[in-house]
């Protein structure tokens, strides 16, 4: 009886869609599509209807069969709306695995809530959310809703599947007309749209069938390299009364320029003050540094998304008064401060973050999520990150380095490369004296000099942390042996590098002993903390967070009763990417041991073909660092 019902209900639903057959059960999903999948899209479609440069409607429709607990993320439907995006209709249906509909939700079942997160103080954007129970796993969820836009800049991108979801059918449709042309480009997939022309109407359709889950590898550049996607942009748009074009980067940049232009944002008194700050500066670089540091000290980052907050910054005059703003507002403020003292500067839009999809010079798209400042200085430019209180003038850090930024200039947008990461901006130099006593106890005095990203790292674990928390970080994060007593001090500044001074006392410094032989570590922490491991195949390039230089020299003063039994013989690894050298030397009298180690990561982007070479290097380094110095007690 039960089987009969299943067949019936599946048939029933097939018949619902005259043009296509969609299943509502996991039973019909082939094993190849179930493999590694948390869910399968029986159908995943987005249909855009462009009516004018400011009006369009976007329909999302999907039938997704949930296969695992992780796939239950689909039992929540969230729809983002704002002043220019209104939710029209919405329907969410839940089916059991026999394909029987067990629940139908409508708009009134949704909660309407403010779009808030940790980084947003306030926002007038809103979310329609619906969280619902499912009859068990597997089950199938179908949503269908349309959002009407009264303003847009760019069109949504389309992804075919994901690293967790396979698909049976995925379709992206754009309906437009001759006066609202679009441009498109496919990434990580070879696909052309089917184009139908009916009079003035043009319909573009991209469709893909039966795609298993997408493979990713740890440390890859993320969706930019693995995700098959279609990027589509309108040729013309009109957002909140600001008409623009995405024909090329220059024109798109030109559209944004007025948002960052302000007549007389400062009073004469304020301008005089800025000028007085730099009156003794000897170079342009110095002037910029002084004003940047002033901005860093006086302002703080606050994100408020009201009105068209996504595009227009708070005016520089506002920031001057209130001393807060988001990346746009602070960058705009910085640009105008520089302008006020006669230094030309531009804001630049950029996609920040570790897995950033880079701006494509050959295709204009509105993918920026961050604004920084660029000061052109002849051959070199000086880049300023205005939302951090720690970065140095001219140093961007791994958040925005190595990619294209769009300079917003009076002559339009210009794509410019941000600086490449350099290993010597990220230095870790440790110098340590260890005095070992006759009973195996030890006193350690360490000075660790850090710059760049290593300072951010140390800062995060030490500044304003209790001594207890610092101790935990030393042990759990930096890999120190748990000290019995310790104190620390931090001196220096970002410009000249910070120094972490550590004094540690151990009742027992050796790791363990076997009879009279005592096994001591090479140093109290490990220089290498990389997790990269050799693999059989590697498709994508591997990204370390940043290149770096680490060195450490540790001098051990031995008591008379400890004699050298065996010390590591030293090791050297050298290739295009990694340099490692470790040397252990004993003084003639045997009363001192010196361990000198150097580890350099020259480049942080490792081509796939070199992956194992680098992984093997770090494996060998790990083994070498794990060696012990064996001292015999007499």
């Amino acid at each position: 009886m039960r089987t009969f019902f299943i067949v019936l209900s599946i048939l029933l639903h097939y018949s619902c869609f005259s043009q296509e057959s969609v299943s509502y059960s996991s039973l019909t999903v082939p094993d190849s599509l179930k493999k590694n999948a948390d869910a399968v899209y029986q159908l995943d479609e987005k249909s855009i209807n462009i009516q004018s440069p400011s009006r369009m409607s976007v329909r999302d429709h999907a039938v997704v069969t949930v296969l695992t607990k992780n796939g239950l993320s689909h039992s929540q439907v969230v729809i983002h709306v704002d002043k220019m995006k209104k939710l029209d209709e919405v329907s969410v249906k839940v089916y059991n695995d026999f394909g029987t509909e067990v629940k139908h939700y409508k708009k009134k079942d949704f909660k309407l809530e403010g779009a808030l997160n940790e980084n947003t103080l306030a926002s007038d954007d809103k979310l329609y959310t619906l969280t619902f129970p499912v009859p068990g796993i597997p089950c199938t969820i179908e949503w269908d809703y349309t959002v009407d836009y009264t303003g847009y800049v760019d069109l949504p991108e389309w992804y075919f599947g994901s690293t967790e979801e396979s698909l049976i059918k995925s379709r992206y449709t754009i309906r437009t007309n001759n006066s609202n042309e679009i441009k498109y480009k496919a990434y990580n997939i070879n696909i052309n749209p089917d184009i139908k022309i009916e009079g003035d109407t043009k319909v573009y359709t991209w469709e893909l069938k039966n795609k298993p889950v997408i493979k990713n590898e740890t440390g890859s550049a993320g969706p930019a390299v693995y995700a098959p996607r279609i990027d589509v942009s309108p040729l013309y748009f009109n957002y909140d009364g600001y008409p623009g074009t995405m024909a090329n980067w220059a024109d798109f940049g030109k559209w944004r320029f007025p948002f960052y232009t302000e007549e007389n944002p400062f009073t004469q008194q304020e301008i005089d003050f800025f000028k007085s700050l730099i009156k003794d500066a000897k170079s342009e670089q110095e002037k910029i540094s002084i004003l940047y540091k002033y901005m860093q000290k006086e302002t703080r980052y606050v994100f408020i998304a009201y009105g068209i907050g996504g595009l227009k910054p708070f005016p520089a005059s506002f920031v001057a008064k209130k001393k807060y703003g988001d990346c746009k507002a602070l960058s705009n403020y910085m640009k105008h401060i520089l302008q006020a003292v006669g230094i030309k500067a531009y804001t630049a839009s950029i996609y920040a973050g570790p897995d950033a999809i880079p701006f494509d010079p050959s295709f204009v798209s509105n993918k920026s999520n961050h604004i920084i400042v660029c000061v052109p200085l002849g051959k070199d430019s000086m880049w300023l990150e205005c939302t951090s209180k720690q970065t140095e003038p001219g140093i961007l850090g791994s958040f925005t380095e190595n990619r294209n930024a769009l300079l917003i200039t009076e002559n339009g947008g210009v794509l410019v490369k941000t600086p490449a990461s350099k290993s010597n901006t990220n230095q870790w130099i440790g110098k340590t004296n260890v005095e070992i006593f006759e009973d195996g106890a030890a006193l350690i005095h360490s000075r660790i000099y850090v710059t760049g990203e290593f300072w951010s790292y140390i800062d995060a674990y030490t500044t304003s942390r209790s001594a207890d928390e610092v101790k935990k970080a030393l042990v759990n994060t930096f890999g120190y042996k748990t000290p019995d007593e310790f104190d620390y001090k931090i001196t220096g500044d970002s410009a000249n590098g910070h120094v972490l001074q550590l004094n540690l006392a151990y009742k027992q410094f050796y790791d363990f002993k076997a009879g009279a032989k005592h096994f001591f570590p090479l140093r109290q922490y490990k220089l290498n903390d990389e997790t990269i491991k050799p693999v059989e195949t590697r498709i994508f390039d591997y990204y370390f967070e940043f290149p770096y230089i680490k060195t450490d020299s540790t001098v051990y003063k031995l008591p008379l009763n400890f004699k050298k039994e065996s010390i590591p013989s030293g090791k050297e690894i050298k290739n295009e990417f990694v340099n490692y050298r470790n040397k252990v030397e004993a003084t003639e009298t045997g009363s001192e041991l010196n361990v000198i180690t150097q580890l350099t990561l020259n480049k942080h982007i490792i081509p796939a073909k070199n992956f194992n070479e680098v992984a093997d290097s770090f494996d060998a380094i790990k083994k070498d660092e794990g060696q012990k110095m064996i001292l015999k007690k007499e």
Binding site: T68, K69, N70, N96, V102, K111, L112, E113, G114, L116, L121, A122, S123, P133, V134, P135, G136, I137, K297, E298, R300, V302, I304, K321, K322, K323, Y324, K389, T463, S464, R465, S466, A467, D468, E469, K471, K472, V475, N476, T482, Q508, D511, F512, K513, A514, G515, A516, K517, F519, T531, S566, I567, P568, S569, K623, G626, Q627, K628, M629, I630
Partner: protein, 639 residues
């Protein structure tokens, strides 16, 4: 002892507190702008200088208004605390019942000449933010805030026809220099209150309105600690409960509450529904003679026929019959169904209200239902009692669910309602492992593992196992021992409640070495990878939530060209209260080394007061566990 001590210190501190007088709004002492660190909490990123609340009730034609004035003054000591200048005040906008008004704010800085400079917040910069449904919040941020600034704001929160008094929490994650709560209650309302504290509090009653005042000073911030349960249980606070209105008691007693619960449509009424009669289960149960078998059958039936919808609740939402029909329900529906079916099968069973570990401890003095956050099943068979939670898929019948183990629950029963302590030290978190491995002449170690996870250990592992075998292998083996390669994992008994979870797998690794020496750590698969108790102080109790037992037996065979160095010693370590015992036996055989390590932790809880001894023991314990077996390669004979 704790109580006595705090009373003593209370007397001592009384006079000093009394002498304090807080500066008025908008006025600041320059010293508060000059200082750079909080004297009683040196690493704090900010210090609350004033944290003030004042409650009054007013009557108007439409009823009465509960109005609370809040005032906060904060010194920013580090850039990490700048976000404290962003303020969000949530309120309910239902029927305009609540209002946030008279928001004012100032920022104080020292200007270039070292003079106090005060910047006011503009009224128009207060924003209204929707949260969801009838909830909104007033949002504002203060101007000119940097490290060294003092910020100050105040507002009034009015609630129409709202009787309850808000609790006051003296302690925050940042230190508080001065915290004051004033409560003026009209004579028609009577409240009881309870002060939870270890620091001295000043309590006074003043004026003709009998305003109650609570003052606490120099309260350090409270941080999270490993194996700490509910933060709420440790915060310094005062909790209020309404007792009567116009002499008519509001606060009832447990007996009355039991009666109400049993009459409630979403609770007791559901227990009376006739469900068993129509199920095939009825005949099955009739054939069973023991109550134990019946409980097992009902528990299994509900788990198999209803999928938990992810919601925890004390109340049935759509009824037990509906849950069974739709095959989905919340925790109350599942557990009340178990009780319903058991009762009809003639087995002693009642709902038991619980407050899970993360919800905080229950104080039986206050008969309030909302203090609980879930309902489980209390049942009896052959003189033994059982606590069941059908929404906890992996927890077998004989095991008290971990999230309520060692807490108080309330059994809702017509004739025998009572508090019940759910505690079982017999069932443990228990892991038993055996390792057999061969070392070759180049230091490559290959071996096999046979590991059994019992009771709470099994329960915990099944949660991961059911997310996928790869994740399980990663979480319990590969990630913990990155130098080892594991393969051929075989897991058994994941579906059989009465047997331990069996794990079989193979591993290989190149031993760490130095010259001719090779090292093997016996602390392998013992689940003691990292000492979590290295802090020099502890404010909260350590609550494991179960007793523990670990056992590891291993044999390592070594080749002819290797010779073990002197082995770690046989040891037995015991805490003075004998609640923790570590034992290690190591023995050298002709061409193998065998050892056995057992660790027995017989208490589920260690109190903050015992921490120093506990920590010292753990330090030594890990020193011992980290001792290694050393092999030395023999010099190869010269050709």
């Amino acid at each position: 002892m704790r109580v006595l001590l705090s009373y003593l210190s209370l007397c001592l501190f009384f006079s000093t507190i009394h002498a304090q007088k807080i500066p008025s709004f908008g006025k600041i002492d320059k010293a508060d702008l000059l200082y750079k660190e909080c004297s009683y909490d040196k690493t704090a990123t900010a210090e609350y200088l004033i944290d003030y609340g004042e409650v009054n009730y007013f009557f108007n034609p439409s009823g009465f208004v509960n109005e609370t004035k809040y005032r906060v003054r904060i010194k920013i000591l580090n850039e990490k605390a700048l976000d404290l200048a962003n303020v969000r005040v949530p309120y309910s906008s239902k029927n305009n019942g609540e209002k946030i008004s008279r928001i004012e704010g100032y920022t104080y800085n020292l200007d270039a000449n070292g003079e106090v400079e005060r910047t006011g917040m503009e009224k128009k910069s207060v924003m209204e933010q929707k949260i969801e449904g009838n909830y909104k919040m007033a949002v504002f941020t203060l101007p000119n805030v940097k490290v060294g600034s003092v910020i100050e704001y105040r507002y009034e929160h009015a609630k129409t026809n709202f009787i309850e008094l808000e609790d006051w929490v003296f302690q925050r994650s940042q230190p508080v220099r001065y915290s004051e709560y004033n409560v003026t209650i009209p004579s028609v309302l009577e409240f009881t209150y309870q002060v939870k504290r270890t620091l001295p509090v000043q309590e006074t009653e003043e004026g003709i309105n009998k305003t109650k005042r609570f003052v606490m000073t120099n309260i350090p911030g409270l941080d999270r600690e490993p194996y700490m349960t509910c933060t709420k249980d440790y915060l310094q606070r005062v909790d209020f409960q309404l007792r009567s209105v116009n002499g008519k008691p509001i606060m009832s007693n447990w007996a009355q509450l039991t009666e109400q619960l049993l009459e409630d449509e979403d609770f007791g009424v559901q227990l009376k529904k006739n469900i068993l009669k129509n199920l095939p289960l009825e005949d099955e149960l009739k054939k069973m003679s023991s109550d134990y078998a019946k409980i097992m059958a009902v528990f299994t039936y509900v788990k198999e026929n209803i999928t938990w919808n992810g919601n925890n609740s004390m109340w049935s939402k759509s009824g037990l019959k509906n849950a069974l029909e739709k095959h989905t329900g919340n925790s109350a529906e599942m557990n009340l169904l178990v009780v319903n079916l058991l009762k009809d099968a003639g087995v002693t069973a009642s709902p038991i209200l619980v407050s899970t570990r993360d919800n905080g401890k229950i104080n039986p003095i206050y008969p309030f239902i909302y203090l609980f956050n879930n309902v489980y099943v209390y049942t009896e068979a052959d003189g033994a009692s059982y606590i069941l939670d059908a929404s906890n898929t992996y927890n077998p019948m004989f095991l008290i669910p971990w999230d309520v183990q060692f807490t108080n629950g309330y059994i809702v029963d017509k004739t025998n309602a009572r508090f019940f302590t759910m505690a079982d030290t017999r069932h443990k978190y228990r892991i038993s492992t055996s390792v057999s491995a061969d070392l070759d002449e180049h230091g490559l170690l290959k071996g096999s593992v046979y590991q059994m996870a019992f009771e709470y250990a099994k329960n915990q592992r099944l949660h991961t196992f059911n997310k996928g075998k790869d994740k399980y292998l990663a979480d319990f083996f590969s990630a913990t021992y990155p130098d080892f390669k594991f393969d051929s994992l075989l897991v058994k008994n994941e579906k059989n409640d009465s047997l331990p979870l069996e794990n079989q797998l193979q591993f290989h690794t190149q031993l760490n070495s130095s010259g001719d020496y090779f090292f093997y750590s016996p602390n392998f698969l013992l689940e003691q990878d990292k000492n979590e108790f290295i802090s020099d102080q502890r404010f909260t109790d350590i609550e494991f939530g179960f007793t523990q037992y670990y056992n590891l037996v291993a044999t390592i065979r070594f080749p002819e060209n290797m010779e073990p160095e002197e082995l770690p010693k046989n040891i037995k370590m015991i805490t003075p209260d004998t609640s923790i015992v570590l034992q290690r036996f190591i023995q050298r055989n002709e061409n193998s080394i065998s050892f056995r390590i057992t660790l027995d932790i017989k208490r589920p809880t260690y109190y903050a007061e015992e921490y120093m001894d506990f920590k010292e023991f753990y330090t030594q314990l890990f020193d011992k566990l980290n001792e290694q077996i050393v092999f030395k390669k023999k010099a190869s004979p010269k050709p």
